[in-house]
């Protein structure tokens, strides 16, 4: 009994080191105020019809204050040409409206919105305002830190608009969808922190789903990933997205994601 007590005490005293810097979704937490984040997302997605689509999505992220952050992102891909062409761009804002921090846990909630412009041909039933459709997305995220694991979930409404006058959204297809995500992440290394220069290793797994309102078609993907944080300032994410099931037509659901990110602290006064 005494040993159980000691073990419990030791466990309680240990600093909780979970991670919530997810690869395929955003957590409810914001980046620090007055900081600038630079990110590039590279996607190598296998086409259902054979071959690979390459996506390049450079992104700038700005911590405006403790409650607000904003992103601006460009979408480039090779899916319509042999080379790389620009498909569109988007702006994103997130507002953290609830935060309960304690010594050994925290719970946060945030609301977000994205508006995207895209000029590429619409070739799938899946709605994706990140790189495929013009449109907007509005959602809510909740993130809970629980001992050594961070769990985050989001729900959102996504609406597709015409991809310019040349690529109108097909009237016969559902143009709005309900999205849901569930993410869990865990810090594997280091076991104990000593300096900011230690490399952190995180593993994560995420579930990403969509249901098209109107026709009820849906998909669910699983996305495991590995993340390295170098010098507490740079991030390297490698993830794999795999379709678990789908009743809708999708162009290239499976593939490898490589994300690089660098944070510049206190850039803005």
């Amino acid at each position: 009994m005494k040993y159980i007590m000691i073990i419990c005490c030791v466990c309680c005293m240990q600093q909780i080191q979970a991670q919530e810097l997810f690869v395929f979704t955003e957590p409810a937490s914001n980046m620090p105020s007055k900081s600038l984040g630079i990110r590039t997302m590279n996607g190598f997605m296998s086409r259902q019809t054979g071959g690979t689509n390459y996506h390049l999505m450079p992104e700038l992220m700005w911590g405006i204050n403790k409650k607000w952050m904003a992103h601006a992102q460009g979408f480039f891909s090779s899916r319509n040409t042999s080379g790389l062409q620009i498909d569109g761009a988007s702006v994103y804002a997130k507002y953290r409206f609830y935060s309960a921090d304690d010594l050994h846990s925290h719970f946060r909630m945030a609301a977000y919105g994205r508006f995207s412009m895209n000029k590429s041909p619409i070739m799938q039933q899946e709605i994706e305002t990140m790189g495929f459709n013009s449109g907007y997305e509005l959602g809510i995220i909740a993130t809970q830190l629980l001992h050594k694991v961070a769990i985050s979930s989001s729900v959102s409404f996504e609406k597709a608009l015409d991809n310019g006058s040349a690529n109108k959204f097909p009237i016969s297809e559902a143009d709005h969808a309900f999205n849901y995500t569930l993410s869990a992440g865990k810090l594997m290394l280091p076991k104990s922190y000593s300096t900011y220069s230690q490399t952190n290793l995180n593993v994560m797994v995420e579930l990403l789903g969509q249901r098209l309102n109107g026709n009820g078609k849906s998909y669910l993907d699983i996305a495991p990933s590995v993340q390295l944080i170098i010098n507490s300032q740079a991030r390297i994410d490698i993830g794999y997205r795999k379709e678990l099931y789908s009743t809708m037509q999708r162009m290239a659901p499976n593939g490898v994601i490589l994300k690089l990110e660098y944070t510049l602290f206190n850039v803005f006064k």
Binding site: S33, S35, G63, N200, R235, F265
Partner: protein, 169 residues
């Protein structure tokens, strides 16, 4: 003569104020990774008058050392931690006091703010004293709720804007 005037001026400058903060020990809450901790560290570094910050990443604690003579605004620390996206779980300052009579609801003034004693047994404080801040945003929400319940005996608690409530530890 000139030298004597210079000496007197120098003496006036180095004479410490009635109260002086030399060090602040902070425990942040909500930190979940070294990246978060570094963000907090960078924010704290931007506070004027900070000489050195030492951190313990495992306990999310930061020890802030001020340059001598700095007029410290403790609310800056809270603001910077919140700007980084986190919260203050505990803040203890090292304050050099000169014969301050401490008792519940008694106060002294430092850098245009009142420091009011709560949860304090009456005594005279002299020399470097550790004072724990007990206002909202300087302790965990749980502690704040608990203290608010017992706060009837401290009329100023959770009411005055420019006052800090402290307890010698």
């Amino acid at each position: 003569m000139k030298n004597i005037i210079k000496f007197i001026i120098a003496l006036l400058i180095i004479v410490p104020a009635q109260a002086q903060i030399s060090k602040a020990e902070l425990i942040a809450t909500g930190l979940t990774c070294s990246m978060c901790s570094k963000a907090t560290y960078k924010q704290l570094q931007s506070i004027p008058g900070v000489e050195k910050i030492t951190t313990d990443l495992n306990s999310s604690s930061f020890i802030i050392q001020y340059k001598p003579g700095t007029a410290v605004n403790v609310a800056d620390i809270r603001k910077k931690v919140q700007d980084a996206g986190f919260s203050v779980g505990s803040l203890v300052v090292d304050m050099n006091l000169k014969n301050v009579a401490a008792a519940n609801n008694s106060s002294f003034s430092y850098n245009n703010s009142s420091f009011i004693f709560v949860e304090t047994t009456a005594k005279s404080l002299h020399g470097i004293v550790k004072l724990k801040l007990l206002d909202k945003g300087f302790i965990t929400d749980k502690e704040f709720k608990q203290l608010s319940k017992n706060a009837k005996q401290y009329p100023s608690y959770n009411s005055q804007v420019n006052a800090f409530h402290v307890k010698p530890i």
